[in-house]
């Protein structure tokens, strides 16, 4: 009897290889790709960013599935995802990445689909010790247990250094043909990709902006200052330059035309300001600015609209006003700016 597996496919090299390894053993595979709402590719497309050659960013999972010849289903978990980002049972990684809760959520969904559609087990591209937070033996075991999938998650890249799973014990797959990779090095995977003739996206992983330092800085700052985080906030932390004015009001200033259009989508929910005499930037005003801050808002708009005196329109829920803004000092701006004061890195 042909056994059937569901594979979690991000489109990176590891998950692609995991699929390939079980396919080689005659397993019928369907791929699942999860949409969390925190995907960098999606965000880049929304704000009109393209690759250096001008082509749009593509979804690596679809490319990988096409290459592997496996059907793929996109599973939208963005609605429920908010809860684990705000309140993860197992905490955050280095930034605001709830990797353990995230894995559990994805695997629970996979289990539902497995049971509904009659699949036998789950395949993932996890590699033991590759990620410090979610890929220790204890964590892998905990994740399995929480998802209700004990013994049913096969990790072909690290199978030989993990306890045998049901698919191995039952002989559905041959354990001796699986791998025993450990740690962060990707040497074995890169060689295997060559052997199988697999093309893959470089760098792998890093598609989730919850692992971004600046994002995490804004998340924590907002929580500390405002005491809560809304769904809008979770999107807005990834966009533009963020400033906290002395009154506690936040100003989110677009960095390019794509962001201008993106932020304009929030116009009916927040106050906003923009340059009126010439093309320039656009900013959302979240909160109630103090009277003396209105000039500051106009000045910031001027700074990010060609850095010259500008006519600025400020629209607040109860009124609209026109001011002349003059670029303020960089020092003043830097004091109010919310960002990670180090280089931004990806990875959990």
């Amino acid at each position: 009897m042909k056994r059937r597996a569901l594979a979690l496919l991000s489109g990176g090299l590891d998950s692609s290889l995991a699929v390939k390894l079980v396919q080689e053993q005659g397993i019928d595979v369907k791929a699942l790709h999860f949409y969390t709402g925190f995907c960098i590719t999606e965000f880049k497309r929304r704000t009109g960013q393209t690759k250096d050659d001008g082509t749009p960013y593509t979804n690596p999972a679809l490319k990988a599935a096409a290459q592997l010849g496996v059907p793929i289903e996109i599973v939208d978990i963005s609605e429920e995802y908010y809860d684990i980002v705000i309140n993860p049972k197992f905490g955050y990684g280095k930034n605001v990445n709830p990797c353990v809760d995230c894995r559990i959520m994805m695997l629970k969904k996979a289990k539902e689909i497995m049971e509904r559609e009659g699949y036998d087990f789950i395949v993932t591209g996890e590699v033991l010790y590759q990620r410090p937070m979610s890929q220790t033996p204890e964590r892998l075991k905990l994740i399995e247990k929480e998802a209700g999938l004990e013994g049913l998650i096969l990790r072909p890249l690290s199978a030989k250094v993990l306890p045998p799973t049901i698919p191995e014990k039952e002989g559905w797959v041959d354990r001796s043909k699986l791998l025993g990779i450990k740690g962060r090095s990707r040497k074995v995977q890169i060689e295997l990709a060559k052997k199988f003739g697999l093309e893959y996206e470089q760098p792998a992983g890093g598609c989730c902006y919850l692992t971004d330092e600046t994002y995490a800085t804004r998340f924590r700052e907002a929580y500390a200052t405002e005491g809560m985080i809304t769904r809008d906030d979770l999107v807005l932390f990834a966009v533009g330059r963020h400033f906290r004015l002395p009154s506690g009001t936040k100003l989110i200033v677009a960095r390019n035309e794509g962001e201008v259009n993106f932020l304009k989508g929030f116009k009916n929910r927040y106050g906003y300001a923009y340059r009126a005499d010439k093309p320039g930037t656009f900013a959302l005003i979240k909160g109630n600015p103090a009277e003396e801050e209105l000039q500051l808002i106009a000045d910031i708009i001027a700074r990010y609209s060609k850095r010259e005196p500008s006519q600025v329109v400020i629209k607040l829920p109860d009124r609209e006003l026109k001011l002349i803004g003059t670029p303020p000092s960089e020092e003043l701006l830097d004091r109010m700016k919310i960002y990670a004061k180090k280089e931004v890195k990806h990875g959990s």
């Binding site: 497309r45 593509t58 599935a65 059907p71 996109i74």
Partner: protein
């Protein structure tokens, strides 16, 4: 045949949505359709140009072609088998 001349049985507009929504919407439509029917997907996310053909290849559907007009992409997918 030019993509513009393709007659679709179902037209689905997903403009305003971005990766991966156009793809999951395509899957939803194809699931409901009969084998042999053609879907016209209208999207403004430029990524669909690569994503939809890749999805067709992965799931064994036939990608018939596409054209762009005023920043909107019209993509034609023929359902050739049931989705797994």
């Amino acid at each position: 045949m030019e993509a513009k001349d393709i007659k679709a049985d179902v037209v689905h507009d997903v403009t305003g949505t971005f990766c991966p929504v156009p793809v999951s919407e395509t899957a939803k439509q194809i699931k409901e359709m009969k084998i042999g029917q053609v879907l016209e997907l209208i999207a403004d996310d430029p990524g669909v140009v690569e994503d939809i053909p890749a999805w067709c290849k992965a799931t064994g559907q036939e990608f018939l072609g596409m054209y762009e007009e005023d920043g909107e992409y019209h993509l034609f997918v023929k359902k050739t088998k049931e989705l797994k």
